[in-house]
Assembly symmetry: D2
């Protein structure tokens, strides 16, 4: 399982979370990455943790003021990027272009979407992975362990029907180690979570709980 901690624009200390993630990954052998804002990538990557961007723009070098160039986040130390997160929905054509821009810059890609049809569409764009963010689960009131399990398995089926090589992550509804195991049992090979770690009083303890059942 791959655990990706999205720091969003939370008022957390990105270095504290990054250091905890690096240590728990080393101790547990579980792959864990942290996704800070673009302006924090360099200092987060300097901790040694696997670092992901939250977004890259659908353009290469050129006259694109205000864009988040894939090459620039890669130079700053990012190894992957989220795309089309539910808080940052993109045009279909821009997801396609951004996936290709990220690949040119050597970044792993995870395209988010919120139902099996969109997961199939995202998989058709050939990212490394897709993350299903069912609206029922976004916000965290319901865990994937208690929600209708079809939510994840349908996404796994939809992605697999289009391209079997695309991994499917569970993009919402995860806050405990039990949720991680449930997601794994449903066919997800990774999870995205945010507040469960980024807003935790003790991010290290939260991460240790998440990997405990793996």
């Amino acid at each position: 399982m791959f655990i990706l901690v999205n720091l969003k624009a939370y008022p957390c200390d990105p270095i504290e979370v990054a250091t905890a993630a690096r240590d728990v990954a080393e101790e547990s052998g579980v792959r864990i990455a942290v996704s800070p804002q673009a302006a924090q990538i360099e200092s987060v990557a300097d901790t040694g943790v696997e670092t992901w961007a939250q977004h890259v723009s659908p353009n290469g070098h050129g006259s694109f003021t205000g864009s988040t160039l894939a090459e620039a986040v890669a130079d700053a130390g990012a190894e992957g990027t989220l795309l089309n997160h539910s808080e940052n929905r993109l045009k279909l054509a821009d997801i396609d272009t951004a996936v290709k821009a990220a690949e040119r810059a050597g970044l792993e890609t995870c395209v988010c979407a919120n139902n099996p049809d969109q997961i199939g569409a995202a998989a058709a764009l050939k990212p490394d992975s897709v993350a299903v963010e069912p609206p029922e689960l976004i916000g965290g009131d319901v865990s994937v362990a208690t929600a209708d399990p079809d939510i994840v398995t349908d996404a796994v089926d939809a992605a697999g029907a289009v391209d079997e090589s695309v991994d499917v992550y569970c993009g919402a509804g995860i806050s405990t180690g039990d949720d991680v195991v449930t997601a794994q049992d449903l066919g997800a090979t990774g999870i995205l979570l945010a507040s469960g770690v980024a807003k935790a009083d003790d991010p290290r303890a939260a991460l240790e709980d998440l990997v405990a059942g793996l």
Copy 2:
């Protein structure tokens, strides 16, 4: 073959084009539709021609000022709608929602996209058809008959790999009857064109030429 004439925001007389399209469709037996702006749907549909919207919004009834409600264009006489035209690119999530909104309103749907990867993604959203608009062909300087034929066949293959029931239209590079035949030979079951008819001195003659080889 299905011929869909997109009037865009051209300074043409929509009723003149609609009347010509209705007559040529009746005389030739070829299915021809006209796609005017939302404000012109009612008067275009009144001619009896098959009428398509150029876009519908990804929402149902409610507080959506300035939207183009699928139910409203259907009530005005539209039978189908384009979505995600290259001049009106939409977010992936909005294409999905708009396809479903159009279906609820009884509208046929055609999602545009500009390369085989995006065509596969569009097909995954289960519209009735997709239209490939290769950037090489948009603008009309190159006809599909002289361009690399892989442009259309790759789109047909990409859509078919995802959902065999989705029709593939050729969304650019068509201005003559020969182009229509070429598109048909490459596997397209319909064509989108705009200026070749809408800006023609004689729209009826242009349409008659388009259907001549069918």
Copy 3:
């Protein structure tokens, strides 16, 4: 006072509201307009009521599939247009271009904004009017008569400081005739309302109440 009834994408009968608005305007001598979706402008205008678009696009004739051309809505019978409604926020550059497009097509313009700073900015773009939509009032739980009266007077002052010729409408918080009088006393020369009429069991009675105190 000018009363503009925004039908949004509500499931109302636009002809019923339009007919009521036409009759109440004639009987009361108060200026009343109805703003339906683009696809309904032609049939609404046919009733004889003053008809406004909910939006026009920042472009002229040309290759703009899915746009709402100012000339097209004017041809369909619109005499004015809203722009930048809170449900349809536009880029600053596009508001500027759309105001100019609307003026070229002979449409009166009302640019919405939600605080005095934005009202000043909107007034700088030289529309005929601006409408202040304070977030506190949107949705209708609070009426302008009970809210902090500074909300409207600050907007009137902000617009006047930039361009005294721009009218200021009250764009939220109105549902009764008392509210209309309050808005007028605060310096507004018009009001925008939606559900209070469009969703009323008896739109004619709702309109008669609105004009009763004028």
Copy 4:
């Protein structure tokens, strides 16, 4: 005069330009800042040059994946931010919110716009400065020294009519020291330029030429 060098997404070495800008600013006494992408702010600011963001998002801390938080770019070392650059046009409401977000984070703000009406609108949002980017001058084929001088003086007048405390920068058409002097004579108190420095073979020499006449 204030000289702001926008690095856009150019394939330049941001540290080389930053170091040159820092040195020329120190030697000449002219205020010079460099505006890199968000992911490069920290390393650019580490050179000691005044550093500006190219954009900040209209939000504070919270669930805003992919946003460019004003506080985050300030923490990384930025002292100011561009907003609404012609390559990154924003909604009016978002410019307003982003100006306020930047001010909360202690960032100086410069809102770009492309004609006197929009400059007046931008000034109404109370940024520290506005930059006029006349379409005639964007791209650099025409210098402000040879273009119609009304382009800049009209912008200065438009901003002054709304808020005299807002500085006006010349946002296009500058590549030489003579252009800088011309812009100053027309009432601009700063200039934005990009390729003239960022793509120069010798950025230091380009900057020395720009300040030579001051």
